[in-house]
Symmetry: C2
Subunit: 184 residues, 2 copies
DNA sequence: ACAGGCATGTAAATAGTTACATGATTCG
DNA sequence: CGAATCATGTAACTATTTACATGCCTGT
């Protein structure tokens, strides 16, 4: 009865729709200011996936034009809800990180310390930017209706706080090692 | 004169080769117990990339059979070294994270708290495992010859320490919110 | 003899991004 | 009117993983 396993994008969609009907465009917008930091989705994934979910009976599309502009909003069906819960009950499998800054730092012995420290500074600037954006998002969530999204958001804030701090300490350490006049 | 920009895998190879000649197989093994946690590479990337780098004159392959078993080790050329340094001087661009645990937690309102907390427990177990493996790696590096790889390794240890702690606190919070008898 | 590790490589599948095409609506 | 935004979708590209094929060498 059940066909191929669903993609992760499928569950992002089911999860987003659970709180109310949304168009593909709105799903994309929601992803972009919430899960994007640990799970992104592009139109190229969302629209084909909505079609598949619809064919599998896990969501239902409803015509909801705005004026003369065609628009379809989707709702999760009972089957879709069950599918989402079944997925949530499975232990998570994907934990990936691709950090070009850490990769460069790993090979930084090829540069003098004054240049190596620039790598860590770049890493810090990036995390500081993310931190700011996450903190701006924080007041838009309220504890009552979105407790879990708020936990996840605070995880991101704490994470970037920690990372910025690590960068500062690492910058210090690189410069301290350089000062005695040891040319790397 | 210079052709297409090199892939990130190309720089992983150049960086690994900088400390001495290695075969493709050895590069893969090195990646697997060092950069893998923030930058992986598979045979399907390494071998074709070695060929391209060789054709571009950035590495040089040397026949180095072990007995009758064919084997090629590669060395970085002067051009390759310059290419690596030029890349290291560019600010890093890729900072990606895909964490299925955070995604599930984000949607955890679909489950009762007793099941939601299991998501965080899984996340914690995973990071605890990574933390253990990283700590095992630590004594194999010595400060003198591998200062930057050691910094990166300690970053991983600190990161997983922080994450495990966040999980513990979050588990507590979910259970505390459940105890007053609020059925989510 | 055979298992496991060393060693090189490719084919196919999967995932994901980017860029584009199309067209309507709203706001200044 | 023009720009931005709403809205849907696809094609092409890039990246990456997985699985497999091949074959030698070492230790039991």
């Amino acid at each position: 009865m059940d066909s191929d396993p669903l993609s992760a994008t499928a569950y992002v969609i089911l999860g987003m729709l659970r709180r109310g009907p949304l168009s593909g465009y709105e799903i994309k917008a929601m992803v972009d200011n919430s899960t994007r930091f640990f799970w992104a989705a592009s139109y190229g994934q969302i629209y084909p996936e909505l079609r598949r979910l619809s064919e599998a009976g896990l969501v239902e599309g409803i015509d909801a034009p705005t004026g003369g502009r065609r628009r379809t909003v989707y709702e999760v069906t009972a089957d879709g809800e069950e599918e989402l819960k079944a997925w949530l009950r499975q232990p998570p499998e994907t934990y990936e990180m691709r950090d070009e800054g850490l990769l460069k730092l790993f090979f930084a012995a090829a540069l003098p310390p004054q240049e190596a420290v620039e790598i860590v500074r770049s890493m810090r600037h990036y995390r500081e930017g993310v931190n700011r954006r996450l903190r701006e998002l924080e007041p838009t969530k309220d504890e009552e209706t979105a407790a879990y999204p708020l936990m996840v958001l605070r995880c991101g804030i704490e994470y970037t706080d920690w990372f910025v701090d690590w960068c500062k300490r690492t910058e210090e350490r690189i410069l301290a090692a350089a000062r005695p006049g040891k040319q790397s």
